[in-house]
Symmetry: C2
Subunit: 402 residues, 2 copies
Amino acid sequence: MKHHVLKKLEWLSQYGKDDQNGITRLVYTDAWHQAQLALKMWLEEEGFSIEIDAVGNLLASIRGSSVPDEIVLTGSHLDSVVSGGIYDGQYGIIGGALAIISLLKKYGPPKKTLQVAAFAEEEGSRFPYAMWGSRNMFGQAKLKDVEGITDADGISLKDAMRKLGYSGKQEPKQNVTAFIELHIEQGSVLETENKEIGVVHSIVGQRRFLVTVLGETNHAGTTPMSYRRDAMKAASMIISRILTLADEAGDPLVATVGKLELEPNISNVVPGKATFTLDIRHTHQYALENMTRLAATKIHSIANQQKVDVQIEPWFTSEPVSMDEKIIKLLSESCERKEIPYKLMHSGAAHDAQVVAPVVPTAMIFVPSQSGISHSPLEYTTEFALEKGIEVLTEALHQLAY
Amino acid sequence: MKHHVLKKLEWLSQYGKDDQNGITRLVYTDAWHQAQLALKMWLEEEGFSIEIDAVGNLLASIRGSSVPDEIVLTGSHLDSVVSGGIYDGQYGIIGGALAIISLLKKYGPPKKTLQVAAFAEEEGSRFPYAMWGSRNMFGQAKLKDVEGITDADGISLKDAMRKLGYSGKQEPKQNVTAFIELHIEQGSVLETENKEIGVVHSIVGQRRFLVTVLGETNHAGTTPMSYRRDAMKAASMIISRILTLADEAGDPLVATVGKLELEPNISNVVPGKATFTLDIRHTHQYALENMTRLAATKIHSIANQQKVDVQIEPWFTSEPVSMDEKIIKLLSESCERKEIPYKLMHSGAAHDAQVVAPVVPTAMIFVPSQSGISHSPLEYTTEFALEKGIEVLTEALHQLAY
C-alpha cells in the first residue's frame, strides 16, 4: 500500500521553508503555528479528534472501541533546527498518521485508542531547552523549569507560549500504554550495512564538558621550549589521548571534540589558553561514567605533566535509556516476517522517545539517512525507505491496538 | 655615567601614545612622522648632521676626523606594533645616540664616522612587509618589491611614503664597516638566568606553514568512531607529535602552533576541517631544514593513518644569520672587564640586524625584558639594565671608531 508520504512531507514543508530550501520552523513562531494548524485541519478531515495541550503538543486520536482509556501513541516533533531537512521530526508525525489512517481503512476502529503526537519542541533550536514538548507532557518538566529561558531576541519561552494561548500548566499524561517513534537515522550505519530498517534497542546517555587549559602566552621565537606552558600542546595531547581511548573502546562509545578556541590565536604567539568541548556518549550508564572518569584522569595527568592548569565543567548530562523489550521483539519479528533487512541498533542522537521511555513502554524505528546527512537541507531518505518505515510501524500499531 | 635614558624614552613615547598607555606608531603615519621630526631636532641640537633617506630612515652622523668615509653604525627601528611598549626599537635609537653623545663629551670627535640609524620600519605592523627600512637601505628590497602592498585601509606603502616626500629610490648604503643593534630581549632567558647583558651570536631562521587537515563533518552521536575521518583528532595527533619532537630537540629549536581553527566548530559535530599554523625556528640552516622535513613526514604519516587529507603551505621563510665573530668577542670581553654578568645567546625574534649582517659585520646587545613581556604596554626593563646596555655599546663604539 502506497501512502504517498513524500507528497505529504512536501506539503507540510511549506510552513517554514527558507532561502536555502531548508525548513526553519522554530517552536512558537508563526511558521510553526501555521504548520500545527494545517496538521490539525488535515487530521480532522481524516476523522481524528484533536487536542492541543497546554504547551502546544498536538494529539490526534482515533478512539478505541473497547478500551478507549488505553492509548497506543506514535509521532515525533513538529519543530526543526535552523535550515533543517524535510524528514527530521515531521516524518514521524506524518508517517504515524498515515499508518493509523491505513489501519482504519483496512480494519476499522481499534480496540485501544490510537493517537499520533506532534510534539511542540524537541531540537532546542530556539530556546536552550531541548524536548520541552514531550518533557512537559510526561511530567518531567514544569513551567518553573523554563523560567528565565529566552531566545536570541530575549523573548522568554513562557511569553512565546502564552502569546499562542498555552498556559504551560497541565497534569502529566497518564494513560499511554505504548509509544513508538518513527524517525530518520541521522547517521550512515543503515546505509553502510545495507539495511532498510533500524530497530532501536537503546538511546545513548551523554556527558558534555567544557575543558579549559590555562598555560602562559609567550613569544614564539624568544621562549625556549623548556620555558613554555603551551596550552595548545597540552590540549593536543589531551585530545589525541582521549579520542584514541574512544577508538579503542569502540561501539557504542563515541567521543567528540567538536569545538576548540585558542587565545590569543596568533601564529607567532605560544597560546596561553585553549578551550574545547568534549562530548562522550554510550548506551550503558557504567561504561559512560567509566569513560568520563578515565578522560578526567587523563586530562589531569597530562595537565600536571605539562605544567598547565585545567578546568573541566560539565554543561549537559543525559542518561542512557533502554527501549521496551516487548516492542523491540514485535518490531524485529515483523521485519523478519516481511523479509525486510533490519538492524538492532542504538541511537547516538537524542529523541523524544528517551523522555517517554522511563514512564511508558517505548521503541523507535529508524529509516536510512543518505550519507548520514541531517540538520541540513541536503537531508534525504528515499520514498521507498520512508514507506518501509510506515509499513513496519503500521503492523506494530495493529498488534498493539487491535 | 648616567644617561637618563628613561626620561628620553618617555619623551619620544609621546608620539603615538594610545588609550591603553601603549605606543601605536605605525610607519608613515602622523605619529611616526612627528617622532622622526622630534628625533631630528634633538640630534641636530646635540651636534649630529642629519640625513633622511629615500624611504624615511633617519641617519644622524658625527663625522670622523681621519676616515670619515668609514661608518660605524648603531641604532634600531622607530616604528612600533599596535599598542607596543616604550622599549622595543626606540631604546636602540636613543641608547645609540646617548652612547655617541657620551663618547663625544669624553673623547672628542671619532676617527671614523659614528652614525645612529632610526630605521623607518621593522615590525610589519601596518604593511605586511617587515624590515622595509633596513632592507631598502642595504639593497635587499627595492620599490618594485612592495608594489601592490597596502595597509588595512587599502593605502599602498608607496603612496604612504610619497605623501611624506620619500621616493623609495636610492642606492644601497656602501660604506658601513660595522653595525651594533641595542635591543630588549623580548624573552625571559636573561631574567631567568640572572644576566644583565645578552651578546647575540646568531638570529634564528624561520619556516612558517599553514597546515590544513581535511576530514569529514559528521554527527557526533550517530557516527561510530570507526566511520569517522575526524580532522580534530588527526590535527591533535600531529600537533602533539611535532611539539614533542621540538621538546626533544631542545634549544635553540622552537616550534609553535599559535593559531588553530576548526570547521564547523560546533560541540556536537565531528570537525571536517582543521587549519593551523606551524612556526619552526633554529639558528642553523641544516637543523632548521631537518626539523621541517621531519615535521612534514609526521604530518603525512599521521594523515595517512587517520584517513584525512592534508595540505602544507609555506607562507614565510627567513634564513638563520650569524653575528660577526670579532664584534661578539669585543662585546664579551668588555662585559668581562666590567664584571657584568652576560650570556652569549641567540635571538629567537627577527631584528634589523639580520638584514644588515649579510653585508656588514654586525652584532646585537640584549638587555633583560621583565617576565619576557614585549609587544605590550606592560613591556618593562629596569633603568639600571638600560644604562648597562648603553655602557657596553659605548665601549664597543669607542673601540671600533676611535
